[in-house]
């Protein structure tokens, strides 16, 4: 089995706030990330697909097709957006790195038909990232 990884970058803003908690609890739990006007990150997304190389083309998948899927599903939806207000899939959820990675997995998984989605890794910064796998795959 071969793993192939494609990387993209997008920039977006977010804030962490749970309306079920008091303002004091929000500040205690989320710290500076609770700032009401939000803040932003340069996110780096690494998408890894697993599969066997096609004997004719030598490819696990057509990278152009993966690039188009990432453009459609991730870039158009999240790049230069305020994640809390503009991304329907994140409505009602705190847009942490964990939740964004999970939403990206759910968006990509049914669209990838050549090979199988193996891992979604989303970096919020060089020092913080979330990995999403199929349950039981690791």
């Amino acid at each position: 089995m071969i793993l192939i990884t494609r990387k993209i970058e997008f920039s977006a803003s977010h804030l962490y706030h749970n309306p079920a908690l008091s303002p004091e609890e929000n500040r205690r739990v989320f710290g500076k990330c609770n700032n009401p006007h939000g803040h932003g990150h340069n996110y780096t997304l690494e998408v890894t697909v697993a599969g066997e190389p096609d004997p004719v083309t030598g490819m696990v998948l057509d990278l152009k097709e993966l690039k188009d899927i990432l453009e459609r599903e991730v870039m158009q939806r999240m790049d230069h957006r305020f994640l809390n207000y503009e991304v329907a899939e994140l409505k009602g959820q705190i847009p942490t790195c964990e939740n964004i990675a999970r939403v990206i997995w759910e968006l990509l998984e049914p669209k990838i038909t050549q090979g199988k989605l193996h891992r979604v890794r989303l970096y919020e910064s060089a020092d913080l990232f979330a990995d999403c796998y199929r349950n039981g795959a690791c």
Partner: protein
């Protein structure tokens, strides 16, 4: 849940070490460890990457609060190793050669009791070209 989520976090510390064991002769130490057996030791800027897993708390969107994770790692690892001589200042390396393999194991053992999430693995980068991973036995 159909997916498994892990949270990864990166930390940095700088420390010195010497790869040398009294169980071997000086010639054997030099042959096996090369420049790393230099008697006065040398140092690295280590990068520690840890991954923890667990359910996402719907109230916070988090597997674990980063402030809790950071303070645990600060106390268990950074305060113990940063700006130290691994051989001289860390009890675990009095008898054990402080290779980065052994450093991974020591860090995993120190972090595995993190109460808010399950430690999956630690990866220690000794230089940009060398890294080591340990996920427990």
């Amino acid at each position: 849940m159909a997916v498994k989520i892990e949270l990864g976090r990166r930390y940095r510390f700088a420390a010195s070490h010497r790869l040398h064991t009294k169980k071997l002769s000086e010639e054997e130490n030099t042959r096996i460890f090369g420049k790393c057996a230099n008697p006065y030791g040398h140092g690295h800027n280590y990068v520690l990457e840890i991954s923890v897993s667990g359910d996402i708390d719907p109230a916070t969107g988090m597997i674990a609060n980063l402030a809790d994770l950071d303070s645990f790692v600060e106390h268990e690892v950074i305060e113990v190793f940063d700006c130290r001589s691994l051989n001289e200042d860390v009890a675990a390396f009095r008898q054990t050669v402080p290779t980065t393999e052994n450093l991974c194991i020591e860090i995993f053992e120190r972090l595995k009791s993190f109460p808010k999430a399950k430690l999956e693995r630690v990866r220690v980068q000794e230089t940009a070209n060398n890294s080591f991973e340990y996920a427990g036995k």
